[in-house]
Point group: C2
Chain length 208, copies 2
Amino acid sequence: MSRQEQKQKTRQNIIAAAFQLLNENRTLSAISLREVAREAGIAPTSFYRHFKDMDELGLTLVDEAGLALRQLMRQARRRIASGGGVIDTSVDTFMEFIAANSNVFRLLLREHTGTSAAYRLAVSREIQHFTDELSDYIIEQLRIPYDVAVLQAEAMVRLVFSAGADALEADTILRNAISNRLKRQLRFIQLGSLAYLQSLQDKPSNNT
Amino acid sequence: MSRQEQKQKTRQNIIAAAFQLLNENRTLSAISLREVAREAGIAPTSFYRHFKDMDELGLTLVDEAGLALRQLMRQARRRIASGGGVIDTSVDTFMEFIAANSNVFRLLLREHTGTSAAYRLAVSREIQHFTDELSDYIIEQLRIPYDVAVLQAEAMVRLVFSAGADALEADTILRNAISNRLKRQLRFIQLGSLAYLQSLQDKPSNNT
DNA sequence: ACTCTCAGCTTACAAGTGTACGCTAATTTA
DNA sequence: TAAATTAGCGTACACTTGTAAGCTGAGAGT
């Protein structure tokens, strides 16, 4: 094994170790460098050969999580394209994601409201991507004016993430209940924005 | 000053000290007993005369925050009763609360997704109260079936808290923008649930 | 083959942590 | 007034933390 390969491998070990430690209810800021090193099977000081800081590792993890989030979106689109209701399919995909990658989602959730401004910003950016893609999709599919679509997408993402937080600690049965409630709530928003646009048409006192 | 009075006073000092420390981006679990003692102006070991644990102090703080939340609801109702749109008034009241008691709301927000299962549960309970009261209000005011009202209330609270999180770190201008978006989104939900009920009436294939 | 590079190690230190133990001084009780 | 209670303090100890300094041995480059 070449030297570079070996280095990459330990780096991955460190990242995996960090995710491992996140599994058992902890924040990034509550994980010590020494713990990560221990879990990764290296000496504490060797950590510095790969990351300047725990902060640098943290941002790497957030990026990694963001990546997973984007893959999730792509998967949802694929499944929607091959049939099935948009809301139902999206929520199902999302819930499967949470169940399968709970530590990834937990990371995003925790750090979104967490202690470090840098992490908060990084997570917010990832969620913003998510929202942007959804509003593009809504505009494209439903032919809704831009500003309404943006509002709708933002509200939907907020609901999805908030429900996801609850689903994170739930068993299968409860998670199903959360799913179903979420789907109905998303439909409220969709219906609501349509009703709003309808009301504009009925008494067109504004522009556009 | 009697002995009991003095004790209560130091206890309040400890609580105030903890809130003070929460102000500068920190979690409960990231605050040490010694720091709290230092800030409260007592010896570290004296802390134990008042609380068994940092956890016990934490739960006390969450309770305190929940109390503030309930006062907020009462205030909103009073303001609604004395005129003004329900959604507008509620959101305005909420945003004022966040601006004035940012550390209280931050505490709830952080610990809701935080490290300690006990805190998470405690916060969830407070939010549940909030949701329950709102759904009661909706049932009473809008004459909407129970299950729809509950869904609507839950969705609204989710949006409000999520937007509140963003508002927490925003300046006045941005906070206003968040307020306005939130108001429109809440109206979507309201419109949506009404439209849903309407659709049930048009083709009544189900029971009630 | 000879040197260079550098991932990972060991050792070491100052700083901070929770909390056990026992003392003191002032209030409360009898 | 004498005895009992107790809020608060000081000291002490065993740990954990981040990271500085310097060494080693194996792969890379010539």
